[in-house]
């Protein structure tokens, strides 16, 4: 308690030098919490959106389905058997048929994926019910905002689509864009056209067949028949890896700030021990052991971190709260990278993350304070008392 009292008295007495150290350390702490909070917020939003729009409670894939092998899609489909039909009836799964095609908006050819979905499904957030209300000659189709932008298509437009049936025979028809949906998940949008499942099955001759099933979030069954279950964790692996790499990248910024602050504390400690030799000698002369004196100086250095945390709390709390309330606007260039990201990220400040950040600041400040203080143990008390340079 005495050492803490002394430490604070000395720190306050040091004036501007202390406050400069404390300010830099507090900025490092706030930046650390901000970055981690932003990435955690992004992670949570990306997970939630991807589950809501694409992954659901997992997916059941045909054995030949590989989302990265578009050329193999023609073989990756199987008959929806009784068990699957039962689960569809119970709204536990919804079938999706995927095949390749080409669209020709304004004479430009673009390869796309045709996805047949049940208009009545409620498992994923796609507004598939819009595919029902159409009553025209053309095939009702739905695209995302990115696809609409890329192809220059608007709601109500017709576009010619060419595809091959299960035998490889070409077919082409006009599709009518009945809905343009707005999703934060680019993987359900880019290069894809949604149409009613039955229509796609008829178009391709793949009657009663599907490429994959999307499971509801309460789905508990695993594999069945030939269909292989892929858990949300497996399907979200890519997002996790992106966030992980982003976290590593952002750590560089706050580690740099933290290093500057810690270096300043280290320098201050070295200077203190050099300039306050008489004080050290007096402490020992008054009966303090060397380790007690080392502790006083270590606590003094470490107290920078406590002051920094206090300062950070004063300006950081309202700042971080404001950012959480209003969200952080994100550049749309991220969107073009194919990463699920909303136009605004709401940071999430997890308790564990804040505690870990506090510990990191306090422990690192203590360590850098201890190393210069160790020199005190090697001092001769008489020389120290005389103020002789050792």
């Amino acid at each position: 308690m005495l050492s803490l009292k002394l430490a604070f008295r000395n720190l306050i007495g040091a004036g501007l030098r202390t406050w400069l150290n404390v300010s830099v350390l507090s900025v490092a702490f706030v930046v650390m919490v901000f970055y981690n909070g932003m990435l955690d917020g992004w992670n949570r939003q990306a997970h939630d959106d991807t589950i809501n729009w694409e992954v659901g409670g997992g997916q059941l894939w045909h054995p030949l389905y590989d989302p990265f092998d578009l050329l193999g899609l023609q073989e990756a489909h199987g008959v929806i058997e009784n068990q699957a039909k039962k689960l569809i009836g119970q709204k536990q799964i919804t079938p999706v048929l995927v095949t390749q095609g080409s669209i020709f908006p304004h004479g430009r050819m673009q390869n796309i994926l045709l996805k047949g979905v049940q208009p009545e499904q409620e498992i994923i957030g796609l507004p598939t019910s819009n595919l029902v209300s159409h009553a025209g000659q053309e095939i009702p189709a739905m695209i995302g905002k990115r696809m609409a932008l890329f192809t220059n298509l608007k709601k109500g437009d017709n576009v010619l689509v060419r595809w091959r049936d299960k035998n490889g025979t070409f077919d082409a028809r006009e599709f009518n864009i009945v809905e343009i949906f707005n999703s934060n998940v680019p993987t359900v949008d880019n290069g894809q056209i949604y149409l009613p499942l039955n229509t796609l099955q008829e178009m391709t001759g793949m009657i009663d067949e599907a490429t994959l099933f999307v499971a509801a979030t309460n789905y508990t069954g695993g594999n069945f028949d030939e269909w292989q279950f892929k858990s949300p964790k497996y399907l979200l692996k890519e997002i996790d890896e992106i966030i992980k790499s982003k976290k590593a990248g952002s750590a560089v910024i706050y580690i740099l700030l933290l290093s500057i602050a810690l270096l300043a504390i280290f320098d201050t400690q070295v200077l203190s021990i050099f300039r306050r030799q008489r004080e050290i000698g007096t402490y020992i002369a008054m009966g303090m052991t060397r380790s007690q004196v080392v502790r006083i100086f270590t606590v003094e250095g470490a107290a920078h971190s406590l002051l920094a945390l206090g300062l950070a709390a004063i300006y950081g709390t309202p700042l971080l709260y404001l950012l959480q309330k209003n969200g952080i606007p994100i550049s749309q260039t991220f969107d073009s990278l194919g990463v699920s990201i909303a136009s605004k990220i709401i940071p999430v400040y997890a308790f564990a993350m804040i505690v870990l950040s506090i510990l990191l600041v306090v422990v690192s400040a203590t360590i850098v304070s201890y190393f210069p203080a160790r020199k005190i143990a090697r001092m001769k008390p008489t020389d120290a008392l005389k103020g002789k340079i050792q």
């Binding site: 050329l71 023609q74 020709f104 430009r108 010619l160 060419r162 077919d171 082409a172 028809r173």
Partner: protein, 246 residues
């Protein structure tokens, strides 16, 4: 009297339909005979007319029947040395830049050949027209100053890329001058214009074919054959994988 006229008209139509039906198949056989040969060697240039510019690829090809063919690309520099070997339904490509032989199979066959309006599959389909289509004559027209019969081809097998085709057949020379390829629902997809018809070693042969994908912009792909020789002595070693790396 009216009854007799009606019966006569119906009979005439029936006879015509029957005659056209027979003629259609016979014409297809004649086309197959004209367009195929025991073997052939030719040099060709393929000009891909894009939206902004055109590029030409030249090659030399050897083929035997419809099952075996070997091509070597001569220009431009980026394609020079690329070789292609087709044996029945298998296709290999040798790329000199990677010094590797790649087999093109499955759905890779549906990809465009060097950005042209032709797919590998278009080049690979070695079945005779009579094997995959039934034909009927639907009319007559003058194309490029030649009297032609319009032939409507309908697929009689399932595994065919184009469900139906329309062909304008030169009545005298029995070669197609124009060909239109349709989708299952009747959408016109591609058009081919065949020209520069010459009599080579006793057979009429169109030396230039303009392929046009009608769904996309661009002026199509022009395929010109020069220096064609039929029924030559081609060493068997040319149709081997070893020849690709030579």
């Amino acid at each position: 009297m009216t009854m007799k006229i009606s019966i006569a008209i119906v009979l005439v139509f029936l006879l015509m339909a029957k005659a056209f039906g027979q003629d259609g198949t016979e014409i297809l056989e004649k086309i197959d005979k004209n367009m195929s040969s025991t073997n052939r060697i030719f040099e060709s240039s393929m000009t891909i007319h894009g939206k902004r510019n055109s590029r030409t690829i030249t090659s030399r090809s050897w083929s035997e029947g419809v099952k075996k063919s070997f091509s070597e690309y001569l220009s431009p520099a980026s394609e020079k040395g690329t070789k292609m070997l087709k044996l029945a339904n298998q296709l290999w490509i040798y790329s000199p830049s990677s010094d590797r032989i790649i087999q093109i199979s499955g759905h890779l066959l549906r990809q465009s050949v060097m950005g042209s309006d032709l797919s590998y599959e278009d080049m690979m389909d070695d079945r005779n027209l009579t094997e995959i289509y039934s034909a009927e004559i639907t009319g007559k027209e003058v194309v490029e100053g030649c009297k032609t019969l319009i032939l409507l081809l309908k697929a009689k097998v399932e595994n065919v890329a184009y469900q139906s085709q329309k062909m304008w057949i030169d009545e005298e020379r029995m070669i197609p001058l124009r060909q239109e390829l349709y989708s299952k629902s009747g959408q016109l997809l591609k058009r081919m214009e065949l020209s520069d018809v010459e009599k080579i070693q006793g057979r009429w042969f169109p030396k230039t074919i303009l392929f046009k994908d009608l769904l996309k912009e661009g002026n199509g792909t022009e395929f010109k054959m020069t220096n064609i020789k039929f029924d030559q002595q081609i060493p068997e070693t040319i149709f081997t994988k070893a020849a690709l790396k030579q």
